[in-house]
């Protein structure tokens, strides 16, 4: 327990201390929110889908979370290369608790980052209909963050340097984001898209955010939450397996 706590605390401290990173990782979601939100707003409205900012904001929260969660997991590569990982790996504590502490720490940070995106989106004109659901919303955000932080841990355990990093951004995070329904409604999609969207954990996350913030869901909240929980369990298991195999 103490191990999990101290590793969690380390992630939090590192996050709080790097203000530039906090601001930097807000820039991209804000850019998406403003350019797409205002750019496509009138088209969306004319298509009879209502206000695009309201629709888009939950998706952009998802974006903030997935990027920051995967990156915090991938940070293991830095720890590997700069030696700190050795310090934790030779300590008489189980690798599972090391992995869990890190992953939960990363997920906490990503959840906070998602909350920041939510705040910014309020400034951009987002009006959640249900402030009442703020607690379940935070739970959903944390689940999404946990899924992707564990995924990042898995990737970080398998890679040995940052050379593959660009590959991961372009072939994993970007597709996961774009194919999640963060930017478009999931109704009337082509058959293949429909399948792909359902395989993407983020789809359920964004859908849950929408359900809790603006009262509209595609899969239903119960479905969203159980799928997220399932993904979280699977990825934490996979992540801790690959982390237990790390050799330096």
């Amino acid at each position: 327990m103490k191990t999990i706590y101290i590793l969690w605390l380390r992630q939090i401290k590192r996050y709080v201390r790097s203000k530039s990173r906090m601001i930097g990782s807000l820039a991209q979601p804000v850019l998406f929110l403003l350019s797409l939100g205002y750019g496509f707003g009138s088209v969306f409205q004319k298509a009879g889908q209502g206000n695009y900012i309201e629709f888009l904001a939950p998706g952009i929260i998802g974006m903030g979370i997935i990027f920051s969660a995967v990156f915090s997991g991938i940070e293991i590569i830095w720890d590997k290369q700069f030696g700190f990982l050795k310090e934790t790996l030779v300590a008489p504590v189980s690798r599972f608790s090391i992995m869990l502490g890190r992953t939960i720490g990363g997920a906490t940070v990503a959840t906070f980052q998602g909350a920041l995106v939510l705040l910014v989106s309020l400034l951009a004109g987002f009006h959640p209909t249900n402030w009442f659901f703020i607690l379940p919303l935070l739970v959903a955000m944390f689940l999404v963050a946990l899924v992707f932080s564990a995924l990042g841990t898995m990737i970080g355990s398998l890679l040995n340097d940052m050379q593959g990093f660009q590959l991961i951004v372009n072939f994993l995070i970007m597709p996961l984001f774009f194919l999640s329904g963060a930017l478009f409604p999931l109704t009337n999609l082509p058959a293949i898209m429909n399948v792909v969207v359902r395989l993407d954990p983020l789809s359920y996350g964004v859908d849950a955010f929408r359900g809790l913030l603006i009262g509209v869901t595609h899969f239903g909240l119960a479905m969203d939450m159980s799928v997220l929980l399932g993904f979280a369990l699977v990825f934490v298991t996979l992540g801790s397996y690959s982390f237990s195999k790390v050799q330096i």
Partner: protein, 263 residues
């Protein structure tokens, strides 16, 4: 009684044999120097002893435990100061110590006392709340040594601990270690390139080159076997005078990359 036992240890990376059929023992409470030129297989051996690498074949017993099968028990037995930095730059000196203390389950009261004692010892107490990234190389090294001593292990590994330290600090550190060795019977296993250091403190020395151990014994034994008058000469006569090249790792490239990434 032997606290470290190594039999026919082999580690291969692809075609390259880094450690080639190495066997040696270290007695309990002994100060043991593990010497060899760059790339001789010292660090690889230490990594296998300290559970960071799996051997290709061979047998290791650390305090009676196999690092491979009983890694948890083996890890309880030792502490290590690594050759290359292993501090968290984004944490303060105190936080790095605290983190280590918690991982090694040092009770809170002892932990607090010892952290203060050790930080004062390496003269970093007044910088305890500074981030490690603001430290000079020597300060980082001192902090790593203080951290390695925090949990009073049965076996202490020091992989080139005195690199980048001035003679004062080096002296200071060895006095502390000798004291600890006498008082608590801690076994010290260290590597170094400073032969006079090994000559001064080591009770027994093993010389390794090209992954094989070529001599083991006390300084006197090595001198008489090689017909030399100093350990430095003995070392050179055993390992030759050719300068070894170590592979420049991807670390340097990464250092640059990280700087860009962080900003």
């Amino acid at each position: 009684m032997n606290i470290i036992e190594v039999k026919n240890l082999v580690k291969k990376f692809g075609d390259f044999t880094a450690v080639d059929d190495v066997s040696f023992d270290v007695g309990k409470g002994e100060i043991f120097a593990f010497l060899g030129p760059n790339g001789a297989g010292k660090s690889t051996t230490i990594k296998m002893l300290t559970t960071l690498l799996s051997p290709t074949s061979g047998e290791i017993k650390m305090n009676g435990y196999d690092p491979e099968k009983n890694s948890h028990e083996a890890r309880r037995s030792f502490g290590i100061v690594f050759q290359d930095p292993s501090l968290d730059d984004e944490l303060t000196a105190y936080e790095n110590m605290e983190f280590h203390g918690v991982l090694y389950d040092v009770p809170k009261k002892v932990r607090r006392e010892r952290i203060q004692e050790l930080l004062e010892f390496v003269e970093l107490w007044d910088r305890k709340n500074s981030l490690v990234k603001e430290f000079s190389g020597g300060m980082k090294r001192r902090l790593e040594i203080a951290r390695g001593l925090l949990h009073h292990p049965k076996i202490l590994f020091l992989d080139e601990p005195t690199i980048g330290l001035d003679p004062q600090t080096r002296n200071h550190m060895w006095n502390y270690l000798l004291e600890l060795n006498k008082k608590e019977g801690i076994t010290v296993f260290f590597t170094t390139h400073y032969m006079e250091e090994a000559e001064k403190v080591a009770q027994r020395i093993a010389v390794i080159d090209h992954g094989k151990i070529i001599e083991t014994g006390t300084t006197e034994e090595l001198l008489s076997r090689t017909n030399t008058t100093s350990l430095e000469e003995a070392f050179l006569s055993l390992t030759g005078k050719v300068i070894r090249e170590e592979e420049a790792g991807s670390i340097d490239r990464l250092r640059t990359a990280r700087k860009m990434w962080r900003r």
